[in-house]
Amino acid sequence: MAGGTAFLPVEAAKQAGAVDVLFYGEVGISVLVSLIVACLVVGFVTRYRRGSPASRRKLPQAFSHEVEIIWTVGTFFAFVAIFWWAATLNLIHLRPPDHTLDIRVVAKQWMWKIEQPNGVREIDAMHLPVDTPVRLIMTSQDVIHSFYVSAFRAKQDVVPGRVETLWFTPDRIGTYQLLCAEYCGLGHSLMRGEITVMSKADYARWCARMKAAAQVKTARNGEAP
């Protein structure tokens, strides 16, 4: 269903690429630091195992202080740099663009109720045009849920009693998995849905068709729309 492998999950939103670069950067740094520590430990254990001929003279006094200060300050600045990178990425993405496609989402115990701008309603499914910024206006009717689409690298807890917004710009046509990430009781693992990203033309056609179908249904039931 969603392209990509587990190691390289599909990036289906404009923001997803930048988040992946940050994540793989951090994975790279972590692998590097882990290798350094592993080599140090394994190297010392083999070179200085008991009975080996390596020299055991006392460490030079200066050596221990200088090294300590170097890697303390080094680690500090490395972490500040990573924080800087992550914080700027977070702040860039903070404010949604001015005109977005506003979709209302209501999370209810164990389903997602989605309402398109033109009134079309769907359960556990969402159709989106590609390359247009989408803003979700979300609220919950009972407990805390969490709207999570891994392909868009987007997640936002939906807290009852408050309106939460989440925005992203899908940039790849396909269907992606919508999951609930915040534990919400019995059906937490069944609260899944599908996001279908279509071309703008398909989306317009889909909206019109769904709108017409909805009107036919209401006319047949005789209710006031």
């Binding site: 882990s34 140090l40 010392f44 080996s52 924080f83 914080a87 977070n90 009852p160 693992s189």
Partner: protein
């Protein structure tokens, strides 16, 4: 760290055979259940937490079996929710938080500072009974009462929608919290007022510093947990709409108060592990610990900054962007001391003469796994990555690397390192090394696939999952089986050593801590004669270690 001039010192005095060890001080049940001897209380705690470790472990096995298949039918989703709640509550509050401080801390803190007992012995035994009875009561409540809120008790689910016995569980944990506070008060007062002559602050072994920092965090964080649990009880029982969003309450408020305790709680779990590893590595590398003062300052900084980082659990919970930024920054700052400690442990091996007995293997395993756990913590501290990864298996893998890879490995390192001193018996070294290796392999096979699951988008606490994640779940469940086997092995060879093990000398590892200068098992008053300390700890060096059989070319 100034290098103290070495003089050759007399070998530790052979404790006269007639001195009765604390084990022979009384064989009646009452002499054990109502003892005020810190060593016996440590053993009571050890038995208690082992029972709860296997209860939590059994729940973990059920989880892993259920997740073998995407739509597992071993347990119904409702039962699955209860099982992961049991696993969370029992492992966090009844095993990990009390594990090292109450067992090794209780046993060795007085020994390492040259005291006869802790400051308030009666409070010590009361704290054990509060822990044991409170924990037993809570386990019975959550098992029979069907609590399915997860160990985090997030509102409004836990207050308005969960129909399990949440009130009983909250009261049980509230009671067990007092035993943490009592232990913390006891250790802080003991270290401040009962150090023997000559034991200045910077001659304290790092394990004592770790107990001091842990007690500091235990004492200041646990009351806020008590307050937040009390508020859940107030909302459920009294009908106060504290966290009810429709009546003016705020669900996020509970998360703030809960995580104000629960993040310092993870430092309660990891700081003692750092203390044990800082004792074990110098002993088996025959090296003075590298940068003793930096290690002390690092531990105290972790304890202090640890109180101001809890917001990184709530990046996506609707917290204000400003709060996300400063909690993210503070989380990066608290990682710096941990990184320093890892480098210091590695540097302590430089120019040592290293042997890989079981304690050392666990300690080095700790250093490796704690590094991975710490670095993945950094990833989760950066906000955009956390938005994708929070509440997924990436977080599950991260905290298991810290808690199981770090804290439990260090627990086993300490258990094996001090086993001769506690029981006076030697354990079977080969079996211990096999168990350590099996645990290392089983652990990585269990939790590394969960990193990949998390990055692929598998959320936490799912009874059934989308089928594309199955490959990694099967690998993880396989690893869990190996890990379970590795956890059972010590029961056998350590139990065997109690009856068939060789008699341990006062100092089988030729270590230099104060606890090794008395008989093993130590007499009731710990030392025949009150010791006078003249040097700092970790007095190792390969050149003039008299017990060193082969003279190294220096």
């Amino acid at each position: 760290m100034t290098d103290i001039p070495f003089q050759s010192l007399p070998e530790a005095p052979r404790a006269p055979a007639t001195v009765k060890s604390y084990l022979d001080e009384g064989h009646t049940l009452a002499s054990w259940l109502f003892t005020t001897d810190h060593k016996r209380i440590a053993i009571l705690y050890a038995i208690g937490i082992t029972i709860f470790f296997f209860i939590g472990g059994f729940a973990a096995m059920l989880i892993r079996i259920q997740l073998l298949t995407p739509n597992g039918t071993i347990v119904s989703p409702e039962l699955y929710n209860r099982i992961f709640t049991i696993h969370g509550i029992v492992m966090v509050w009844f095993f990990l938080v009390p594990s090292i401080p109450t067992t090794m801390g209780n046993f060795f803190l007085p020994l390492m500072i040259g005291a006869r007992d802790v400051a308030f012995p009666r409070l010590n035994i009361i704290s054990f009974w509060i822990f044991f009875l409170g924990a037993l009561f809570t386990v019975v409540c959550i098992v029979s009462g069907g609590v399915d809120t997860g160990w985090t008790f997030y509102t409004p689910y836990s207050t308005l929608y969960s129909n399990g016995h949440v009130i009983a569980a909250a009261i049980g944990i509230f009671i067990v919290g007092f035993s943490s506070i009592a232990t913390g008060v006891n250790f802080l007062t003991t270290v401040h007022t009962m150090r023997t002559e000559g034991m200045t602050w910077f001659r304290l072994p790092l394990f004592v510093w770790a107990m001091y920092a842990t007690s500091f965090v235990m004492v200041l964080a646990t009351p806020v947990l008590a307050a937040s649990l009390l508020m859940i009880v107030a909302e459920r029982a009294l009908g106060m709409p504290l966290f009810n969003p429709h009546n003016g309450g705020d669900p996020i408020l509970f998360q703030h108060l809960f995580w104000f305790y629960s993040h310092p709680a993870v430092y309660i779990m990891i700081l003692p592990a750092m203390g044990v590893v800082s004792e074990v590595i110098p002993c088996f590398a025959r090296r003075v610990i590298f940068g003793y003062r930096f290690m002390v300052y690092a531990m105290m900084m972790i304890a202090l900054i640890g109180f101001s980082v809890w917001g990184h659990h709530m990046f996506v919970s609707g917290q204000s962007p400003f709060a996300n930024i400063y909690f993210s920054f503070l989380s990066f700052m608290v990682a710096v001391p941990s990184a320093i400690k890892v480098f210091n442990w590695s540097a302590s091996l430089f120019r040592g003469s290293i042997t890989l007995e079981a304690p050392m293997f666990y300690a080095l395993g700790f250093v490796g796994l704690f590094t991975i756990g710490g670095l993945t913590g950094l990833m989760l501290a950066s906000v955009p990555v956390d938005i994708d990864l929070t509440d997924t298996y990436f977080v599950v893998a991260h905290f298991h690397y810290i808690m199981v890879g770090g804290s439990v490995s260090a627990f086993f390192a300490g258990l094996h390192y001090w086993w001769p001193k506690i029981t006076g018996k030697l354990y079977n070294e080969r079996a211990a090394r096999l168990a350590a290796l099996l645990m290392f392999i089983g652990f990585n096979l269990t939790f590394f696939p969960q990193f990949i699951l998390g990055w692929a988008g598998m959320p936490r606490r799912y009874a059934t999952y989308p089928p594309e994640f199955q490959l990694w779940h099967v690998a993880s469940s396989l690893g869990a089986a190996v890990l379970a086997l590795a956890y059972i092995m010590p029961l056998f060879y350590l139990g065997w050593s109690l009856y068939r093990g060789g008699k341990a000398s006062a100092n089988p590892w030729h270590a230099t801590g104060l606890e090794w200068q008395t008989a093993s098992p130590p007499p009731k008053d710990n030392f025949a004669v009150p010791p006078r300390v003249t040097h700092g700890p970790y007095f190792y060096h390969a050149d003039n270690d008299p017990s060193q059989p082969t003279k190294n070319a220096s």
